[in-house]
């Protein structure tokens, strides 16, 4: 086989994607890097960009507001991904065997994934609203609890966690289910014949085989929860105070409300770098497990 000839075809097939991503992705990316080295507030006394080198990044490292949003986002991401992973796994297990109305249950269960984030946020906001929202109303009526996401940080967090779990666990469940179904039966049979108990089965056989799928799911969820904005914004507006203000919203406010393009750009790049590092670690764990063969 003529290697260089066939490599050319490979590159040709790959190129349209690279082209689009390159143009749509790289150009803005370089622009943001460029702006990130300037101080640029449209309404400062001195119009226009002022070159400040890496001063923005130095400021960011000490910016307690920004660091606060970063730590909150990481905490949220961690909580959400962990809970969704556990719940998703349990539910995926229960979907492995056929049972009556399984298709119905599964179809309904997947619905949240297709609702627009902005609609998800609006709906949950309505459900949690004081006075006309059913959740605070019935919690008060039946349990005497005072559920106010505008007043209590803990309750606001519970609300956004619930919302995210509602929205994304189906996705996690499906990917885990796919992974579970793809596990070859022979090793499991063999181990069972050898007298392995449930715990050993999971620890040494099932979970390790499931690892790639788990990692892919975690990868995607971490990535998305680190940049999400619309649904949390609609539900709590980042409040009470700034307790549910995450990085995505903070950058949005810096750029649009404060008109600080320079600082906002550098912030964005720092967060991107962060995300890349986290995902690169996950990615390496993932590709380490796959064999690499080609034709």
């Amino acid at each position: 086989m003529n290697k260089s000839h066939s490599n050319r075809l490979g590159w040709i097939l790959l190129s349209p994607s690279l082209l689009i991503l390159g143009i749509a992705g790289l150009a803005p990316f370089f622009y943001v890097i460029y702006v990130g080295t300037h101080s640029w507030n449209v309404f400062s006394k001195e119009r226009g960009k002022v070159f400040v080198g890496i001063q923005n990044y130095r400021d960011l490292v000490f910016d307690s507001a920004f660091l606060g949003t970063l730590s909150r986002t990481l905490l949220f991401s961690f909580l959400v991904v962990t809970i969704e992973l556990i719940l998703g796994f349990i539910l995926a297990l229960s979907l492995m065997k056929d049972f009556k109305a399984k298709t119905f249950f599964r179809t309904v269960y997947v619905l949240p994934v297709v609702v627009a984030p902005i609609a998800v946020g609006a709906t949950w906001r309505l459900m949690m609203a004081q006075g006309h929202g059913p959740i605070p109303f019935f919690l008060n009526k039946f349990f005497g609890w005072d559920f106010n996401t505008g007043a209590s940080t803990t309750q606001a967090w519970i609300a956004i966690l619930l919302m995210d779990i509602w929205h994304w666990t189906p996705f996690v469940t499906l990917t885990l289910l796919a992974g579970l179904l793809a596990i070859p039966k022979e090793p499991v049979e063999a181990a069972s014949v050898d007298g392995a108990n449930r715990f050993q089965m999971y620890r040494f056989l099932i979970l390790p085989m499931l690892l790639p799928v788990i990692l892919i799911t975690v990868f995607i969820r971490v990535m998305d929860s680190l940049r999400s904005m619309e649904d949390v914004y609609m539900l709590t507006n980042g409040g009470p105070g700034s307790s549910t203000t995450f990085v995505g919203l903070h950058i949005f406010r810096t750029v649009f409300a404060k008109q600080e393009y320079g600082y906002g750009s550098s912030m964005s790049l720092l967060v991107l770098y962060f995300t890349i590092v986290i995902c690169w670690l996950l990615f390496n764990a993932l590709t380490g497990k796959e064999s690499k063969r080609t034709v």
Partner: protein, 288 residues
């Protein structure tokens, strides 16, 4: 699906009544918010802000009537349809080519390239609005046409987050198709492209379907880019949702009505395709 044997004994953990209880509860939890959205859409503004009532006593049809009579909503729906469908097709095809190349050729730096494509989806979008705005209004400009406020513009920019996602999804699936099949066909003097279309595509069909559906849904639901890069002719239905949040009160009834109408196409898609979901995700190994 063969579910007896050791595997099912070890992996199924609920059975009988407890399983039905679990899934019934889940169904209530899942449908709850959607049901509430529907209830809100049946209420007039004064009723929405009243004490919550779980039952629909009377249906305030004004919300839906206004939405249906609204020429604008119809335009926005059509825009969304065009943009989402075209983008999903474009992305699926391009991703197919790309992943075929990545899995069947040993291209230099393909791992890094693969990782780089995903990074396009990682950045918080706010700071990228301005450069995209500039590109759309200044850089790509011929005579009267510019990318700003054009459906083509949206279709192209959506590739930024959909293409990486599709590539990631399909790569795993194509890797699950044994190379032996390729080799056998190539020995028989088939060309690479023939292998792609005659062997890979049929086997990957469920995966392609699932990729198409998910990218379609993401494109349909996207808000920030659509709002910032469109003005009047390329507005999508999700931007309409945001417009309901006004300074003189959010008309939640109408917002809910539009939200439900905006979600319907996706729900319809879902019900038709749902049998492919699991098949697609198991890389074709399991048929439903």
């Amino acid at each position: 699906m063969n579910t007896n044997s050791a595997q099912s004994r070890f992996t199924s953990i609920f059975s009988g009544v407890s399983r039905y209880a679990l899934w019934s509860l889940l169904t209530i939890f899942t449908l709850g918010p959607i049901y509430w959205m529907f209830v809100v859409s049946s209420r007039s503004p004064v009723e929405v802000y009243d004490k919550p009532n779980l039952v629909i006593d009377s249906f305030y049809t004004e919300n839906y009537a206004k939405v249906f009579q609204d020429r604008v909503v119809r335009n926005y729906m059509v825009n969304s349809l065009i943009v989402a469908t075209t983008n999903a097709i474009l992305v699926t095809v391009l991703a197919l080519f790309a992943t075929y190349a990545l899995t069947r050729w040993k291209l230099k730096g393909s791992d890094s390239i693969f990782f780089w494509t995903i990074t396009n989806r990682m950045a918080p979008p706010a700071a990228f609005i301005l450069p995209n705005f500039l590109i759309f209004t200044q850089v790509v400009k011929f005579d009267d046409f510019m990318l700003f406020d054009s459906k083509i513009g949206l279709i192209l920019i959506y590739c930024l987050f959909n293409l990486p996602f599709a590539i990631w999804l399909l790569k795993g699936m194509l890797e699950g198709i044994p190379l032996e099949l390729d080799e056998a066909a190539l020995v028989d003097r088939a060309s690479r492209m023939q292998v792609l279309f005659k062997i890979i595509v049929p086997l990957a069909a469920p995966g392609l379907a699932i990729t198409f559906i998910l990218t379609w849904v993401f494109a349909w639901n996207e808000y920030l880019l659509a709002a910032s890069l469109s003005s009047s002719s390329a507005r999508t239905i999700t931007t309409r949702l945001a417009e309901y949040v006004t300074t003189t009160g959010t008309n939640y009834g109408e917002l809910a009505a539009v939200a439900i109408i905006a979600t319907l196409p996706a729900i319809i898609f879902l019900t038709f395709i749902q049998k492919y979901i699991v098949t697609g995700l198991t890389f074709g190994a399991v048929k439903e």
